[in-house]
């Protein structure tokens, strides 16, 4: 159920532009990689009347020396954005990272201009760095912004 929802959201152009996905094949690969983290119980889904409306996931790091930090991926159903669902998901994933996985920090990589940046800043994340010209979206170059929070 969540796989289908995630794939449907990532397919929509206004969502897709903020992720490293362009083709259907890229959407499929990203959806599979993302949903695979649910096996580690590091993924949370927001539901409304039993229907998924948002997903947030911690991508856990494979090596011990970096196992104290996790990388966050988030998407909210475009029909339910700007209603506080993202804020709620971030709050819950911070809690999960700290209390269940004993992580010390979470970070997220976003493209400059992403509507998720103000959401994370509001939730206490701060900018670690900005990587110039990292992504090219419809001919326009975007920076890669890394935001982080200490748990």
């Amino acid at each position: 159920m969540d796989f289908g929802s995630l794939k449907r959201w990532l397919t929509q152009p206004e969502v897709r532009k903020w992720f490293p996905i362009t083709t259907e094949k890229e959407v499929d690969m990203m959806t599979s990689n993302w949903i695979n983290f649910s096996r580690y119980k590091s993924s949370l889904t927001a539901t409304l009347m039993s229907q998924p409306i948002g997903i947030v996931t911690i991508f856990l790091m494979p090596y011990k020396k970096v196992a104290h930090i996790g990388m966050v991926y988030i998407v909210v159903d475009p029909d339910y954005q700007r209603q506080g669902i993202g804020t709620n998901l971030v709050k819950n994933i911070n809690h999960l990272g700290k209390n269940y996985f004993q992580l010390e920090a979470l970070h997220i990589e976003l493209y400059s201009g992403s509507p998720a940046i103000p959401l994370f800043v509001k939730s206490g994340y701060y900018q670690v760095l900005s990587h110039p010209d990292y992504a090219r979206v419809n001919g326009v170059k975007h920076d890669r912004i890394i935001l982080e929070t200490n748990l």
């Binding site: 890229e26 494979p62 104290h68 010390e104």
Partner: protein, 164 residues
């Protein structure tokens, strides 16, 4: 001194040398891996890159003394830039092998794969940073507390880039 030859990495014959190089304590401390099993996992990725033509080996007297891999992104939005990693045998440092290997890979990245920007991640204290400075890389950010050693101490990850 014999001539250093740069050739594509051979996944079959170079794997052991990459693993041994990375397992040297003075090398491993500057990588995110911490033991042989983690090194083996990382070498598997290295070999995948070599099968795609993204990895090169520096050879001296028939023996591998350095390797470099390009993480070429298959995604449309990211394919104009790539990350790279490099390791040079501790016994063959200071002879320009790293510079030669890096310059070769830059040529390949630009001409064969259309890479416009190449970037790297180096941990604070790694002497290789001087080489990157000399090659014209500029720092664009630092990620503090990125590595955590078994003794609880942290290292900062320095991010650098260069336009080709």
């Amino acid at each position: 001194m014999s001539e250093v030859i740069i050739r594509p990495t051979n996944p079959e014959t170079d794997a052991a040398a990459i693993e041994e190089n990375l397992c040297e304590p003075g090398v491993l401390r500057y990588f995110p891996m911490c033991n042989r099993q983690e090194v083996k996992d990382s070498v598997a990725i290295w070999l995948q890159n070599s099968k795609k033509g993204y990895a090169y080996t520096a050879e001296l007297d028939g023996k591998p003394v350095g390797m470099m891999q390009l993480y070429i992104n298959p995604q449309e939005k990211l394919k104009h830039q790539c990350l790279f990693s490099i390791v040079i045998d501790v016994n063959h440092r200071g002879h320009g092998i790293g510079t030669k290997l890096i310059n070769h890979c830059f040529e390949v990245a630009k001409k064969k794969f259309g890479i416009e920007q190449i970037h790297l991640e180096v941990y604070e204290g790694n002497p290789a940073k001087r080489l990157y400075d000399r090659l014209g890389f500029t720092e664009y950010g630092r990620h503090k507390h990125f590595l955590k050693e078994a003794d609880g101490t942290y290292s900062t990850k320095i991010h650098m880039l260069k336009y080709l």
